[in-house]
C-alpha cells in the first residue's frame, strides 16, 4: 500500500508521517514524498463525515473503506455506506475502484435502488461526493501523480508552530478543477497540514486542513480532517473513528460480487 488510495483514505493520507527526509528536497520530491509515503499492507477505516451547512445545521455520512494493493501493485479500494445513520437513499451503496496504470481507473458502483452493479467513469470532476464539500477530484487529489502538476516552493514558514514548506502546485492540464493548490508540508515528517484550492479564475475556494493527528500502529495518522468551501460557507469534517493498518481483508472484497452482497 504505497500510493493511490482513494476517497477518505486518500484525504487521510495527506498527513501520514514519513521518515524524516532531507531538508533540501526540490518541490516535486517533497510533494511526492508527502503523497506516497505510507507503508501498510492494508488500511481499513470507518469515517464519520459531518456536513455543516451555512446555517449551522448538520448531516452525517458514515463511510467504511477497505484498501489493499493488488498482485500487480495496483491500488484497490472499496467504499461502502452500510451504517444505518446514513441517509436512507445512500445506505447500502458500495463503490469499488481499481487503479489501472494503462488508463482510467476501473470503477463500479452498487446502488440498492438500481439492483445491480454498474460500471462508472473514474471521475465525475467537480461534482459533490455524496453531498459533502469534497468533490470527486478532491477525493483523488491526494494520490494525484506528482508529474501532473508543476511544483514550486513559495516560502518556508511555520504552521501551528511546525516548520513547513509552502508549495504551490499548478496542474499542467487546464481542464483540471483547480488552477492551483497551495500546501503546507511539514519539513520534518512530510505531513501535509493544509491545502488551499483555487478555482480557474484564481479565487481561493476551498481549504483542506488536518485538525487532529494521532499515532496509530506506529504511524502518525490524521484522525480529523476538515474541508471548507469558502464561497458557500459550508464544511465537511471527516472524523476517523476506526483505523486499522495491516488487517486481514479477503481478496474477494475487491470484486463486483462483494458490491452486490456485502459478503466477502
Amino acid at each position: 500500500m504505497k500510493r493511490n488510495s482513494k476517497f477518505i483514505i486518500a484525504v487521510m493520507l495527506l498527513g501520514i508521517a514519513a521518515a524524516a527526509f532531507a531538508q533540501t528536497g526540490d518541490a516535486a520530491a517533497i510533494v511526492d514524498k508527502s503523497r506516497n509515503r505510507i507503508n501498510a499492507a492494508t488500511i481499513q477505516t470507518r469515517s464519520r463525515m459531518v456536513i455543516t451547512a451555512k446555517d449551522g445545521s448538520t448531516g452525517n455520512r458514515v463511510i467504511d473503506q477497505y484498501s489493499k494493493d493488488g498482485s500487480k501493485g495496483e491500488s484497490r479500494v472499496v467504499v461502502e455506506f452500510k451504517h444505518s445513520s446514513n441517509p436512507a437513499n445512500i445506505t447500502g451503496t458500495r463503490f469499488l475502484t481499481i487503479e489501472n496504470s494503462g488508463g482510467n481507473d476501473d470503477q463500479w458502483i452498487f446502488l440498492p435502488s438500481l439492483g445491480k452493479v454498474r460500471r462508472i467513469a473514474a471521475s465525475e470532476g467537480s461534482g459533490s461526493f455524496v453531498g459533502t464539500d469534497l468533490s470527486y477530484t478532491d477525493i483523488s487529489s491526494a494520490n494525484r501523480n506528482t508529474d501532473l502538476d508543476t511544483h514550486r516552493i513559495l516560502r518556508e514558514e511555520g504552521y501551528q508552530g511546525k516548520p513547513c514548506y509552502v508549495i504551490e502546485s499548478t496542474p499542467k492540464d487546464s481542464g483540471y478543477q483547480y488552477s492551483k493548490m497551495v500546501q503546507w508540508i511539514d519539513k520534518a515528517n512530510s505531513v501535509n497540514y493544509k491545502i488551499e484550492l483555487y478555482d480557474k479564475k484564481g479565487a481561493h475556494v476551498k481549504t483542506l486542513e488536518i485538525l487532529k493527528l494521532e499515532e496509530k500502529q506506529g504511524r502518525l495518522s490524521p484522525m480529523v480532517t476538515k474541508m471548507s468551501t469558502l464561497t458557500a460557507g459550508t464544511s465537511t469534517t471527516i472524523n476517523v473513528d476506526i483505523l486499522q493498518y495491516d488487517g486481514n481483508i479477503p481478496e474477494t472484497v475487491f470484486t463486483p460480487r462483494y458490491l452486490e452482497t456485502g459478503r466477502p
Binding site: Q44, N104, S113, L114, G125, G127, T132, G247, T255
Partner: protein, 445 residues
C-alpha cells in the same frame, strides 16, 4: 393485514436477542488493529434492520382543470403511499421483506402488498436466493432487451421514470456462482408466469389492450381484470435462464440464454382468446468507459414459435438492441442517453394470408425508443434539476418529464410533471390528454 404486521413484529423480536450485529460491525477480522471492533458476520450474530418511507403526494391531471365541473371531480391522487423494509443478516444468510403500503378505504384490496420477500443463503462462492424478487439482467440503465425476468406494471405511468418501481416482483429461485473474482454464472428458475400489468379502464388503459379485450369481452365468461391478475401457476408457464458475466481488461461483458414468455399477450382470433407466447432469448451485453463516456450495449435474438412469420396468434421472432451512455458534461450536467430498438423478422409475411388475423398487423417493422435524461445537482446534492424524455421514433410519440427535487438528509420534496404528445394511436401519444403534475413529500428512514 394486522395479523401479517403482527407476525412480522413477533418474528423480529424472536430474531433480536443476544448477538445483534449492528452498526458497530466493522472489518473482516478481530485482531491486529487499533480501534478495530468485532469481526463482520461472526457466528451467531444477526443484523436486524427496519427501514422504509412515507410519502404524501398530490397528483393532478391538466384535463381535470378544463371545466369547473371537472375541477370538482378532481381527486388529487391517493395522497399517501409508503413502504416498510425489514432485513435480517446472519452469518450465512440474509432475509428481506419489502412491503408497499397504499391507502384502501373500502376494503376492496389489501393496503399492503409484497414488493420483494426472499432469503439468500451463502455457500462459499455460491449464493442461493428464493422468494419474491426483482432481478436485473443486462447492462442497460433503462429496461434493455436482456432485462426479461420481471414483468412491468404500466397501470400508472406517472411512475414510469423509475424502472425498479415498474418491476413486479416474481417468485423465483436464483443461484449465483462466483468464478474467480470477476466472473459469475447465474441461473434462474421462475415457476410461474405473469405478463405486464396494464390498466383495463381509466386514463392509463392502453388502446392496444382495449382493442383486444373489447373483442374478447363479448365472450360470456371473460373478465379482463381476472385475466391480468391471474398467475399462470403451472409448469407450462415456467421460465428459466442462464447468464454468464465477466470482466476482461476494462470491459464488462455478459452472455445469457432465457426461455420464457413474452410479457405482452397475443390475440388468437380464431379461438377468441389470448395467450402469452413462449420464446427463447439469446443475448449479449457489454460495458466500458470510452473517452469518459460510460458506454453500455445489449443485443438479443428473441425466437418465438412463429419461425415463418405466418401465425397470427404468435409474435414473430425479433432482434433487439440497446446502446446507451452517460457522462458529466459542461457545468456538471449529467447526460444519460439510451436508444433501444426491436426489429421484427419475417415482417413481410404479416397480412399475406387474408384468413389470418395477425396480432402484429398494422405495426411497423421496427420499434425504436430514445431515452434522454439531463440532470444537474446543486448545493452539495441537495437540489436536483432533472428532465427526462422518451421519444418513440416510428410512432412519433413522446413523453417529457421535468422535475425539481430538494433533498435534505432523509427528507425530500419533489415537484414533477409529465407531458405526453405525438400520434394518438401510439404507445405514448394516446395519453396526450394525461399531462400531469405532482408534488411529493417523502421521509425515508
Amino acid at each position: 393485514m394486522k395479523r401479517v404486521l403482527f407476525s412480522l413484529l413477533i418474528a423480529g423480536l424472536i430474531l433480536l436477542p443476544e448477538n445483534i450485529r449492528a452498526d458497530d460491525d466493522f472489518g473482516f477480522d478481530s485482531g491486529g488493529g487499533s480501534s478495530a471492533s468485532s469481526p463482520s458476520f461472526s457466528a451467531g450474530s444477526v443484523d436486524v434492520r427496519i427501514g422504509g418511507e412515507v410519502s404524501a403526494e398530490l397528483l393532478a391531471f391538466t384535463d381535470d382543470f378544463e371545466t369547473v365541473d371537472k375541477i370538482k371531480q378532481g381527486k388529487l391522487g391517493d395522497v399517501f403511499s409508503g413502504a416498510l423494509n425489514f432485513s435480517v443478516s446472519g452469518s450465512a444468510a440474509d432475509a428481506v421483506i419489502n412491503l408497499n403500503l397504499a391507502p384502501v378505504f373500502d376494503g376492496s384490496a389489501s393496503p399492503v402488498t409484497i414488493d420483494e420477500a426472499y432469503v439468500r443463503a451463502y455457500f462459499g462462492p455460491v449464493n442461493v436466493e428464493g422468494g419474491v424478487r426483482k432481478l436485473t439482467w443486462g447492462k442497460a440503465d433503462s429496461l434493455g432487451p436482456l432485462d426479461v425476468i420481471n414483468p412491468l406494471d404500466y397501470t400508472d405511468l406517472t411512475k414510469i421514470s423509475d424502472p425498479m418501481d415498474l418491476k413486479i416482483g416474481r417468485p423465483l429461485v436464483h443461484i449465483s456462482w462466483g468464478i474467480g473474482n470477476f466472473s459469475k454464472l447465474e441461473g434462474v428458475f421462475v415457476p410461474w408466469f405473469q405478463g405486464h400489468h396494464f390498466a383495463t379502464n381509466g386514463r392509463w388503459a392502453p388502446a392496444q389492450i382495449t382493442e383486444i379485450t373489447g373483442l374478447l369481452s363479448l365472450l360470456p365468461d371473460f373478465n379482463i381484470d381476472d385475466y391480468y391478475k391471474e398467475d399462470r401457476q403451472t409448469l407450462e408457464y415456467a421460465q428459466s435462464g442462464l447468464r454468464f458475466t465477466t470482466t476482461i481488461g476494462s470491459s464488462d461483458m455478459g452472455l445469457q440464454y432465457y426461455y420464457g414468455r413474452l410479457p405482452r399477450p397475443a390475440l388468437d382470433a380464431s379461438r377468441m382468446s389470448m395467450d402469452y407466447n413462449a420464446y427463447h432469448q439469446v443475448g449479449v451485453d457489454y460495458a466500458q468507459v470510452l473517452f469518459g463516456f460510460n458506454v453500455r450495449a445489449e443485443a438479443a435474438a428473441n425466437i418465438t414459435e412463429d419461425l415463418k412469420g405466418d401465425k397470427g396468434d404468435i409474435y414473430n421472432p425479433s432482434l433487439a438492441w440497446s446502446l446507451g451512455f452517460d457522462r458529466d458534461l459542461i457545468g456538471g450536467i449529467n447526460v444519460n442517453f439510451q436508444a433501444t430498438e426491436s426489429i421484427r423478422l419475417f415482417h413481410d409475411k404479416i397480412g399475406k394470408d387474408p384468413l389470418v388475423i395477425d396480432t402484429e398487423e398494422g405495426k411497423d417493422i421496427t420499434s425504436t425508443r430514445l431515452t434522454l435524461i439531463l440532470s444537474k445537482k446543486f448545493f452539495r446534492d441537495q437540489l436536483e434539476l432533472k428532465a427526462a424524455g422518451l421519444w418513440d421514433i416510428e410512432e412519433k410519440g413522446f413523453l417529457v418529464m421535468p422535475s425539481i427535487a430538494w433533498i435534505k438528509n432523509d427528507v425530500s420534496v419533489k415537484l414533477s410533471g409529465g407531458i405526453f404528445g405525438g400520434d394518438e394511436d401510439g404507445e405514448l401519444g394516446q395519453y396526450r390528454d394525461n399531462h400531469f403534475i405532482k408534488t411529493v413529500l417523502t421521509y425515508r428512514f
